[in-house]
Amino acid sequence: MPQIFHHSTNTLAKLSIFGGLFVLAAAIWALAEVNRSSYNTGQFIERQQPVQFSHKHHVGDDGIDCRYCHTSVEVSNSAGLPPTRTCMNCHSQIWSESPYLEIVRASYKENKPIEWTRVHDLPDYVYFNHSIHVAKGVGCSSCHGRVDQMPAVYQAASLQMEWCLACHREPERFLRPKDKVFDMAYNGDNALAENTTDEQRRVGREMKEKYRVRSTAVLTSCSTCHR
């Protein structure tokens, strides 16, 4: 009886075992990479807005405080987007004829809000409240990065759950005195403070004590964020 398979099949069979293992491992690795990539998270992608509004200019150059526009950040879930009137406080006086601001003036005249593009969008199953974070000494830049250096704002963090938990597990790595919360330059260029220093840990522990931040068990309980 002739052989059913050519002799080379033996080699192929052995190769396929190794090949299968490598293909499987590579597939898992690739999936994990895609999952954490900007493609999936939207991290680092600059969002174009209807008006060419530059945070770099308004915050960095002009030194306007975050709360001037995001008025509800200390008292509400949402930081709040300014109404067109807030823009017009200044822009009725300066750059009042600028073609770049035509949309703003039109919005003001027609009493119709500008439709800004959302940059940070948490899933609906996450309960998030800005005010509690601000009240406990979490700086704006800890999550949003150096907004004062962003002409067009992008999402500085991945917003994935592992990122939330990094702070909820060890808040002392990120907490700062409350009067520094709106200080964009608190951590220098390393705004998200990925490699926190011993000094930061010392201050963080102090602040954790001072602001009575709840225990890690509470902070990492499922229902703290998934209510």
Binding site: M1, I4, F5, T9, N10, A13, I28, A32, N35, R36, S158, Q160, M161, E162, W163, C164, L165, A166
Partner: protein, 464 residues
């Protein structure tokens, strides 16, 4: 003959049948078993059975489709009975699988040669039962496409699964069980797949069986490695017989619900699993040997041994029921006492008493030699046990849940039509796989059966 032992024959009147009937040699064994697969005409009965099971599988698929599109609200379980048919059926199927592993692994290590005729079949039964079982918790999660969350893998959530939860242990227990059972079964098949490759008439058959045989040539080196591998796998499988259902029982025993929170659960569940498994072996093997004329290989001896295992494990299970009742009284705990009273006289009392009839009363007939020797009686008793073991899980799960500590949160449970289509669908699915197995793979291990014929015995073994 060596293989005819008279130990269970105290009066010397009856002779215990052999593991393989006389008159067989290497050739006839191989011919007989491989011809089931290699015959040209598929028997009409096979088509009928296959079609019915295929239609039931379709029903199951339809139910799953509707369930995935709608949500598990289509099932009857809801507060306070959050676990019902889905978990009952899961435990029922997993339990059934246990006989296969017991037969193939433990009886191999104990050198019980009679296992040879039924181990292949019982292992296939295990695999298909685990496949049916696995569907239930998977669908019970409600979002089966996220089921991989159950496994600990580095993820963007920055979390591990809850390792302290028995449900997590279940994932490991069942997935290990499925993997090891599949490997064990496949390894055992390799020499037979080579036999089929060599005997297949069509080119297609030779190529397919040839690929599955993984280049088996039957050399001494192959056999040496094969024996080592098989023994190792048997060693790995052996603890699984005990561990898998122990962990399944933790799903309940770790909870605080009266009727669940009992230390007797692990041994009681394991015995129940083997009990159910042997009942299913008998249910399947009795028609099978008749239909395919395999009475020479699966002899009266096998049926009687299975009956004895059933009787023994059935008594352990009965002891479990007794202890549940005793503990309830002895604990002097109001809730435990109420749980038993509710079982005895509550709204579902009928199912409790039916369970006792099916699992405790009827199997006592197996004490009688005449009953053990009657194929029909064995089949009927096995059916009783199949039903009884399902009822046992019904009694444990919904009956314990429907009335627990607070009367204000009591409720009643009734299944919906989709609970039934899912359950009977998986029975169909099980038989669907079984029919495919019967048609395309040797249902009895050919090469192991060849070692059982007189020719294979060494001269000194033949001495009286």
């Amino acid at each position: 003959m060596q293989r005819v032992d008279n130990l269970d024959d105290d009066r010397g009147i009856h002779t215990t049948p052999a593991v393989i009937e006389p008159g067989h040699d290497f050739g006839t064994v191989t011919d007989k078993i491989s011809s089931i697969v290699l015959r040209k005409r598929t028997p009409l009965g096979w088509f009928v059975g296959f079609l019915i099971s295929f239609m039931l599988t379709g029903m199951m698929m339809g139910t799953i489709l509707y369930l995935v599109m709608t949500g598990i609200g289509i099932w009857g379980n809801n507060q306070p009975v959050g676990w019902a048919f889905d978990i009952i059926n899961f435990v029922w199927w997993i339990g059934i699988g246990h006989a296969g592993t017991l037969i193939s692994a433990i009886l191999l290590l104990l050198r019980q040669e009679w296992r040879t005729s039924i181990n292949r079949f019982a292992e296939a039964m295990t695999l298909f039962a685990v496949a049916s079982a696995g569907l239930f918790p998977l669908l019970h999660t409600g979002r089966p496409w996220l089921a991989y969350w159950l496994f600990p893998y580095p993820n963007t959530m920055g979390m591990w699964p809850q390792f302290r939860s028995p449900l997590m242990w279940d994932v490991f227990a069942v997935s290990t069980y499925a993997t090891v059972s599949a490997l064990f079964w496949y390894t055992g098949l390799i020499p037979d797949l080579a036999t089929l490759r060599d005997r297949a008439r069509s080119k297609f058959g030779r190529v397919v069986y040839g690929m599955m045989a993984l280049g088996w040539r039957g050399s001494a080196r192959h056999w040496h490695r094969y024996e080592i591998t098989y023994l190792l796998l048997a060693g790995i499988s052996t603890p699984l017989v005990l561990s898998v259902h122990t962990i399944v029982s933790f799903d309940f025993a770790v909870g605080i619900i009266p009727g669940w929170h009992a230390t007797i659960f692990p041994p009681y569940f394991v015995a129940g699993a083997i009990y159910a498994g042997f009942a299913m072996v008998l249910t399947l093997v009795i028609p099978l040997r008749k239909f395919y004329g395999l009475e020479d290989f699966i002899t009266e001896r096998h049926l009687r041994n299975a009956a004895k295992v059933m009787l023994a494990t059935g008594l352990i299970v009965a002891y479990g029921y007794m202890m549940e009742t005793f503990t309830a009284w002895y604990s002097a705990n109001t809730y435990e006492e109420f749980m038993i009273r509710n079982r005895f006289f509550g709204p579902y009392a009928f199912y409790y008493w039916s369970l006792l009839v099916c699992n405790v009363v009827v199997p006592q007939l197996l004490w009688i030699r005449f009953v053990r020797h009657s194929t029909v009686a064995l089949f009927v008793i096995a059916m009783f046990v199949n039903v009884g073991m399902w009822l046992e899980r019904f009694v444990i799960i919904p009956i314990s849940l429907h009335r627990d500590f607070l009367p204000s949160s009591w409720g009643m449970y009734s299944p919906t039509i989709f609970d039934f289509t899912m359950f009977f669908g998986t029975i169909g699915f099980f038989f669907f796989l079984m029919f495919l197995f019967l048609r395309f793979l040797p249902v009895i291990s050919i090469f192991e059966m060849r070692t059982m014929v007189p020719e294979a015995q060494l001269p000194e073994e033949k001495l009286p």
